[in-house]
Amino acid sequence: MEILKVHHKTRGPAAGTVGSALVGVVASGNLEVLLERTLADTECTVEIATPVRGYDDVWKAVVAEFVERASPGGLRISINDSGARPDTVMLRLLQGVRTIETGHD
């Protein structure tokens, strides 16, 4: 199991007031993303647990693009991955932010 932690500064906080959200499931080619509003407004951490080794650079690139697009300030994001492709990861991250911002996906 590979554990990867990424920390970003964001432009501002994620919208909304929902405290936490979970999207996706741990199934082959899929992942679950847990979002918790526990950090300072301009901080975002993403912790990834994946059984697939050697893709640190891809994960970091996807997370960096996600932070740029979504400005997920204040969110502690945790991922249980089961071999999802980068495009699936990006969609789940955006779905997660939408869910914690609006209360539904």
Binding site: L22, N30, L34, E36, N80
Partner: protein, 309 residues
Amino acid sequence: MTDPKHPSADTASWFLSTARERLTGLLDPGSFAEFLPPTERAQSPHLALFDLPAAFDDGMVVGRGRLGRRAVLVAAQEGQFMGGTFAEVSGAKLVGLLRAARDDPKLPRIVLLLLDSGGVRLQEANAGELAVAEVMRAIVEARGFGVTVIALVGGRAGAFGGAGLTAATCSRIVISEQGRTGVSGPEVIETNKGVEEFDSQDKALVWSVTGGRNRRLLGGADAYAGDTVAGFRDAVLALIDRAPPFDLVTLRAEQRRLADRIECLGACNSAVEMWVALGIAEPQTIRNLDDAAFAEIVKGLRGAAYEAR
């Protein structure tokens, strides 16, 4: 988007939905409160040993909510995660819920089990087997204290192994056409007895034996639901006040039902032979009927109408 809370939740396929989507759609809007939510990270301590990813809820969602304004306890297995299996954490969450229902009369007196499981998780087999035994005991004890336990079977993994046993201890079982239940799953039978005994690749055979329509016709399930969230909700609401008391009369009736069934169907070699023996005029059409026509056939059929379990 018409209803932001429940976008088309009523017509969503039960089979294709996740455990959380099923709960959100099934219960009254906004009523679900989860025990040990994912933020608690009650996840398997064992899977990392096998280099397998864990899930924040270990594939078991437990909590309370309302169904048609009635207070209920709920547990839902996530069939897509490790086949919805019983393991140390997922099992303990379910056992805890059932024991709480047994011990605390202030909690809701109705428990809904949204089963979606192939049985015990092989990576945690001892803990999983123990969990199944404890779940069955807890269900029986809770029923003894007047709690109604209803199983809902219609997920991708079906309800096999320990989940099949669990379903059989419930007060009532609701199943859909896509739902499957049994003890040994098709692959297990084929592995142990050979492909001549049971061809697990033959989907028509698998569904004709383990599928929801056959289970309903044989009395292995008490209600048949369409494969939608609304279908399951309606079926549960229709059953909720008609669950039998857990007493000697019910157990004797159940014994009689099972004895009748083996006498009537024990010599049959296929599902169609059983449907003939049950007196169904055109047994070959069972698979092709729509839900409404199938419900008509079930009405008054010997073995499907009884007060037992």
